[in-house]
Amino acid sequence: MTHFPAAAKDAGMTHHDFSLCNTQLTARADGALWLADHDTLVVSDLHLCKSERFARKGRALLPPFDTRDTLTRLDAVLDEVSPARVICLGDSFDDVEAIEHMPDAEKLWLARMQAGREWVWIAGNHDAGPVELGGEYVDEVTAGSLTFRHIAERDAQAEVSGHYHPKHSLSGPARACFVYDENRLIMPAFGTYTGGIPAVKSPIRDLFAARAFAVLTGPRALVVPLP
């Protein structure tokens, strides 16, 4: 049984601590999830090399700085928490071919971040194939009571997933957000070039019980009941 947020009182703090199926979690304002007890950091939907794929497919020549920006922000989180393990929760790359075209500098950068820690790539729908970079490549992984996979499964218990890029707005523009109830958590997309779908709408809202919460990312994490 999950304890409902005493964490609401922490609304003024940078991050939001809560527990899901007895595992303690920190939803960070930057969109990463921190499991202090397991020394594990989780980020979802990095969509690295998205601008490259768009260009390759002839769709648009977007500013090619997204990979650099995403890695910079990830690097900052790693610096802060120094996790023993990193889980990338799928759609880490916008497609598998993108890795091939990734500039060496960016590959080296990734390798440097991976050094000295366990690194898990979860398979996503965009990158459903082994990654030719360091780290382990799996469909699912567990930590504490929780199972980590890319796409939520309807009847799953104690599950953390990504894929949907949830967002939610209070009074201003919509922000990427975590969504959770007592059974599951869906993470925001961490990648720079990622859109989103409203957490209050199908299919995201349908995956949660009536009593559910959104944790907005931004300058600080803000938790609100999900309407």
Binding site: E52, D66, A189, G195
Partner: protein, 796 residues
């Protein structure tokens, strides 16, 4: 010189018509390379444009396309088609006329490319699309004339620039092409002629008819001190409607039109048939009003700029302009709507909405009498449109960059384009133009054997799907719950402010907001007398520079016999207590009122610029520790309030400081992001429509805001950001007008520290649209709101 064939003479005679002198002139000079006809609304302008084509085509020897007609409105193209078929059928001329717009069926469009009609009626966007096909030269072979209707309206937007670029393509395919422009009265016909044809263009003027009879509506009650509703004038307006056959009642914004219409109906005890027409209403509803108008069933229509163009109503005999006209040219064009009876002067009444507008209306009347029309000189051809043009050119096949550059320079607005600026655009289109050269393998355009072409020819499909420069604001349809047809549309940002139970006006009805379902705003009927939320966003015109100058000049008179007494007394009082603003000095008043410290800056720079001034000023005041709380802006002044008095105003208003404040403020500003989205969409950095877009979900779309932030961070000199900054200066930010004010006053500031509210500033306190200063407070407000929601849910 072309004579009118007998059959045409007979046709005119059979209808009891006489050919107008300007129609004959157009015919006689039909062989000239370029002609611009200036004629008042409804002066047989369109027939004047087509007559030479009909005559040239009458013998049935021409094969293929002869005349291309471009209209700013799809509906107008269809309407012209119907009107033109009448003489063709009556005289049994062997002429095929078809229209081609976004609404034309795919089958017909395909057929038109293989077997074009003699006369094709279309829009700038459809023409641009036609030039993108590889077989365009075949379709346009034999084209003799192109007629641009309502060219004055097209010229005011990027659609005009796109059109002129498309004409330069046609010119390359058909060197004998003759151009004809049809325009309403404008301030600078020479400029319009240069735009139509920089190498020379004759101007023909139709008889403008007798001078219009314009006056200000005098009412028993004086107008209120502030506001824009003009409801005080409703009884007088109803009297005028009764006295005339058909009246058009123009408003500057849709919201004002809705409110006025609502109040008019409450007072309309005689049940006079009065309709409403504006751009947010559904097509069906607008069609119904237009049809009723054509049948002569309506005594009045409350409307906005949506009736500025298009179909001529036969029997309008009075135009009422509610609210100061803001712009003399628009006023004259609107008055022209009542000019349909030969030799009868068109009649118009101005209704000032508040006391200050009385002054503005009087100034506008004087300007109209002097034929002193206003208009801002058109800037350089926009480069986002050029980027799109290069892509359209690439769709049609490989091209030589130098050849295209010279072709583009032949267009008036791009005559000053440097080769370097052109190459910048080509580079952007080809590679993205980023500081980080990432796309060498995936360029959009490649140079092969000296010719530029699409790397992947399949890209042509998505480019064609994104042609155009019209930016749809994000709007949502409004529908009665359970009923089928939409009532109209509201802007998304307005819908976002509604909560269940709110009532608002649309299409003259009060409705109650229920919720948003599948991107449709659902409403129910409401019996409420006073809608709680009465305003939705609409364009707010800024008073033109020329009109502002006239008002400032009026202030220098020693007395004002032309003004009603109440207004003249108000100005006299201001002169006693403070100063009246002058064109060559900047008047700033500071005074305490109701526990707050106020500062009023009379820049006379127009609403948008005064608003920008407010944003920059409050930012600078916050930095200086002057604790501003908010501000409000009108066309003539910005009023700022805060906790502390401003003792030294000059440092806040230095030109350098304002410019620096502007640059910092602009960086993160929503206006910039909106401007960027427009430019990025037109230049096709973002592809709104893609063949894939139906398949991929919204997760895959990257918002333009993120692209903007990324570019600002990593590539601040990128072409798109440079374009965005330039556009923002002219558009909503309108910093150009602040620059104009700074030059005009040149540091000569009159600061008057008063001990109480001065007369001229008083109405500003009553203005709606006060803008709170948020700054760092925003995060705290969000957090408080989050906490309140948790508490409400019993979780706090």
């Amino acid at each position: 010189m072309t004579a009118l064939p007998q059959i045409f003479d007979d046709w005119f005679a059979s209808r009891g018509w006489q050919i107008h002198p300007h129609q004959r002139d157009m015919l006689e000079r039909a062989s000239e390379k370029a002609l611009l006809l200036i004629a008042p609304t409804g002066g047989g302008k369109t027939l004047a444009g087509f007559l030479p084509s009909l005559v040239e085509l009458a013998d049935g020897t021409h094969e293929g396309l002869h005349t291309l007609y471009i209209s700013p409105l799809k509906a107008l193209a269809a309407d012209i088609g119907r009107n033109l078929r009448r003489p063709v059928v009556d005289m049994a001329l062997p002429i095929r006329i078809e229209d081609r717009t976004g609404d034309t069926s795919a089958t017909l469009k395909k057929r038109q490319r293989v077997d074009p009609p003699h006369i094709l009626l279309t829009t700038p966007e459809s023409l641009a699309l036609l030039t993108s096909y590889e077989d365009a030269p075949r379709m346009f072979r034999g084209l003799k004339r192109v007629i641009v209707d309502e060219i004055h309206a097209l010229s005011e937007s990027k659609r005009g620039d796109q059109l002129m670029l498309a004409l330069s393509r046609l010119e390359a395919m058909c060197p004998d092409l003759r151009r004809v422009g049809l325009s309403a009265t404008v301030e600078d016909p020479q400029a319009l002629a240069r735009e139509l044809s920089p190498t020379g263009c004759a101007i023909l003027n139709a008889d403008p008819g007798p001078a219009p009879d314009i006056a200000m509506l005098v009412t028993d009650t004086p107008p209120p001190w502030a506001g824009g509703g003009a409801s005080y004038a409703i009884p007088a307006v109803l009297e005028e409607v009764k006295r005339h056959k058909t009246t058009l009642i123009f408003h500057n914004t849709r919201a004002q039109a809705e409110i006025f219409f609502h109040n008019l109906w409450l007072a309309n005890t005689d049940d006079l048939p009065i309709g409403i027409h504006h751009g947010s209403l559904s097509r069906d509803q607008r069609d119904a009003v237009e049809a009723a108008m054509v049948r002569g069933d309506l005594r009045a229509v409350v409307c906005t700029g949506s009736l500025d163009l298009g179909i001529d109503w036969g029997n309008v005999d009075l135009v009422i302009q509610v609210g100061a006209p803001k712009n003399v040219k628009r006023l004259i064009q609107r008055i022209g709507r009542a000019n349909h009876r030969y030799n009868a002067p068109s009649k118009a009444l101005l209704v000032p909405a508040n006391r200050f507008e009385v002054i503005e209306c009087v100034a506008a009347l004087a300007a109209a009498r002097d034929h002193d029309l206003d208009g801002d000189p058109k800037g350089e051809g926009p480069r986002d449109v050029l980027c799109q043009h290069i892509l359209i050119r690439a769709c049609a096949g490989p091209f030589d960059a130098t050849e295209l550059y010279h072709e583009v320079k032949s267009v008036g607005a791009y005559a000053g384009l440097s080769r370097a600026a052109f190459d910048d655009c080509l580079e952007f289109v080809a590679t993205g133009g980023y500081a980080l050269r990432a796309y060498d393998r995936w360029q959009r355009l490649m140079e092969r054997n000296g010719l530029w072409q699409l790397r992947d020819p399949r890209a042509a499909q998505s480019i064609r799907m994104n042609i155009g420069t019209i930016q749809d604001t994000e709007t949502l349809k409004v529908r009665m719950r359970g009923a089928g047809k939409p009532l109209g549309e509201v802007e998304e940002s307005f819908a976002a402010t509604l909560t269940a139970g709110d009532t608002f006006l649309i299409g003259g009805q009060i409705v109650r907001y229920q919720g948003i379902k599948e991107m449709v705003v659902e409403v129910t009927r409401s019996a409420a007398q006073n809608p709680r939320v009465a305003v939705f966003n609409g364009t707010k015109f800024a008073t033109s520079t020329q009109l502002s100058a006239r008002v400032l000049a009026m202030f220098q008179h020693s007395d004002w016999p032309e003004l009603p007494r109440h207004t003249a007394e108000w100005l006299n009082l201001q002169r006693e207590v403070s100063h009246l603003p002058r064109a060559d000095r900047l008047l700033v008043e500071t005074f305490p009122h109701d526990g707050r410290q106020f500062m009023c800056v009379y820049g006379f720079a127009g609403r948008n610029a005064q608003q920008t001034l407010g944003l920059i000023l409050t930012q600078r005041m916050e930095e200086a520790g002057l604790a501003p709380l908010g501000f409000v802006a009108t066309d003539y002044a910005t009023l700022v309030w805060g906790l502390d008095p401003v003792e030294d105003v000059a440092p806040l208003l230095t030109a350098d400081g304002l410019r620096e404040g502007r640059d910092r403020w602009l960086q993160s500003n929503m206006v910039m992001k909106r401007t960027f989205r427009t430019a990025a969409t037109i230049a096709m950095l973002m592809m709104r429509n893609t063949p894939q877009s139906k398949k991929t979900g919204r997760q895959a779309t990257v918002s333009s805001d993120i692209l903007y932030d990324t570019l600002v961070k990593y590539d601040p000199d990128h072409l798109m950001l440079r374009i965005t900054r330039e556009e923002a200066m002219r558009g909503l930010v309108d910093f150009g007008r602040i620059e104009e004010m700074l030059t005009r006053t040149s540091g000569r500031i009159d600061h008057l520290a008063l001990d109480r509210l001065p007369p001229l500033a008083a109405p500003l306190l009553l203005e709606v649209g006060k803008i709170p200063v948020q700054g760092v407070a925003r995060e705290r407000l969000e957090a408080e709101r989050a906490e309140a929601l948790m508490k409400e849910a019993g979780l706090g």
